[in-house]
Symmetry: C2
Subunit: 326 residues, 2 copies
């Protein structure tokens, strides 16, 4: 009888280029225990899987035991939920097709779900954040890359092969900037980290006005935001241009999907109003007229530190429960 | 006992700018009876509803009777399935918000569903055509306007307010051609009827080569296709440019939705290979790399004459059965 009262927990694993964070999370999104290690220490995928599984087992044994865990969810760049694989990840050292979901499932004997960071973030916002209760919304994650995910009538949209949401590689400016993917004019080439820095250099070259940015040798989007906060005119112009292009791209996306809301997460969203005000204005200028004024655009409401493991944990809840040892 | 064997039928109504066609359709998409009248004869919506309902009752009484009809489906430009209204239709004489679904339901005492032409066409292709059995596909309808609809995991995607699929009014060329919707650079301004004719005039002005198009006073896309078939170099160039832009737009759409297939219907699709070959080439150049070579792009397989009422009849099957008189 006691058993049926047990509220199961999940393990959420956020793999980013630099750090892998893993946590035990309960049904309400409380993080019970958490730890991390450098992703970059394990350029060989088998070493990575061995260490990750050992460390998960250690954390689980110290916090409620194996029986308390329902499943494992992983958030990882270039991951595909439908196949369970990481596919041609440009920002990880594991190349080609890596069947990470199967590798971890076989070691741990638990159901494992894996999604790319934007899909995991969308599930996290739906379960615990700004998209709670929404049936149709778009999440856009803007950081080093630009990923997205949308929900259709209450369900995550995967598409025919799990590659849905590659908004970052839609063409915003035909013949425009070269993108890391090899194509030209992708929105990622303007709105994600590198693009913002390119725009900053363009803005500085076009003008002879003074700017705090001119004194920074390796300019980052975070530093540009700091300059904005100090009233730096050119830095504000950088995010004005970035926001305008983001708003145009979001208008195209929303005209196709007609979401209730668009949630922006990721490092670039920390530019706050410097990005979001021009983005919202451009959005309203360009979106299909019947939905003008009707789409909420907001920055993620989840705490930065928690967001990534909560997204990963939300992936764990959508996989079917399975245990090799029961 | 006999009653339980009755295979119910539906009424499909296709309202186009010029003509309203209505038909009784069985579960397999056989058209049992069909008739039409000019839409333009009834600029007042109440007159239109009265005549349409009288004519439907007449057709139904002569072909199996009221008891045989499950529901009514309507395909109409600018219609919204979620609200049952026609909303700000630029190409119909009924202005503002018209609650067409409720008006017809109240007269006929039957469940009524209404969708815009692209959504109805997608349901028709899914029920009876090229998209049969597909869970994730995009339908793009290119004629006077450019509409679309996509399916997500087996279901039509409506979006938060039923306005999903407005691909025609996504911006393809920032700062480009003025669209009928008031914005600039919409794909509709390049790829739908008027846009193709504008491109034809651009192509003729840029060149001093002879062309059959030069002798036609009121050029139409259909005539440009005829010129292509006769090997007219400039006419072929018109559809090459049109196809290239369509392919770029479809690549953006597919990168977001990751469909199994894209089905093209509508008058412009009759340009066949002159449009589709450059469209497919541009699509593969621009689509997200992981789905390159994996999305089927094809012209609707339904017979032109049948397609519109079959689409409308498919809308009738997705509404919940309801009868005022039972």
């Amino acid at each position: 009888m006691e058993d049926s009262k047990i509220q199961k927990r999940v393990v959420g694993v956020d793999i980013s280029t630099e750090t892998t964070t893993y946590a035990i999370v309960d049904v309400r999104g409380n993080i019970i225990a958490e730890a991390d290690f450098p992703t970059t220490d394990y350029p060989n995928i088998n070493d990575f899987v061995t260490v990750l599984c050992e460390r998960i087992i250690e954390l689980v044994e110290a916090n409620g035991g194996y029986e308390s865990i329902r499943s494992v969810g992983i958030s990882c760049p270039s991951a595909n939920y439908v196949t369970g694989n990481i596919v041609n990840a440009p920002n990880l050292s594991w190349k080609g097709v890596v069947p990470l979901s199967a590798l971890i499932r076989d070691r741990l004997g638990l159901a494992v779900g894996i999604s790319n960071d934007a899909h995991a973030a969308a599930l996290g916002e739906h379960a615990y954040g700004a998209a709670h209760g929404m049936k149709d919304f778009i999440l856009v994650n803007v950081g080093v890359g630009l990923g997205s995910c949308f929900f259709s009538n209450g369900n995550e949209h995967h598409g025919a092969e799990g590659y849905a949401g590659e908004f970052g590689h839609t063409c915003l400016i035909p013949g425009g900037r070269r993108c890391g993917c090899g194509k030209q004019g992708c929105i990622e080439a303007y709105v994600a980290s590198k693009g913002v820095v390119v725009t900053a250099h363009e803005v500085m070259e076009e003008s002879d006005k003074p700017s705090l940015m001119r004194d920074i040798s390796n300019l980052t989007p975070r530093e540009i935001t700091e300059c904005c906060k100090q009233g730096d005119e050119l830095a504000i112009e950088v995010y004005r241009r970035t926001g305008e292009l983001l708003g145009l791209g979001l208008a195209n996306y929303a005209s196709i999907v007609n979401p209730e809301a668009i949630i922006i997460s990721g490092g670039i969203s920390r530019a706050g109003r410097f990005l979001m005000e021009p983005a919202k204005a451009a959005f309203e200028d360009h979106v299909f007229h019947n939905i003008r004024g009707k789409v909420k655009i907001q920055v993620s409401s989840l705490d930065n530190r928690e967001r990534d493991v909560l997204g990963a944990s939300a992936v764990a809840w959508v996989v079917k429960e399975y245990s090799l040892f029961k």
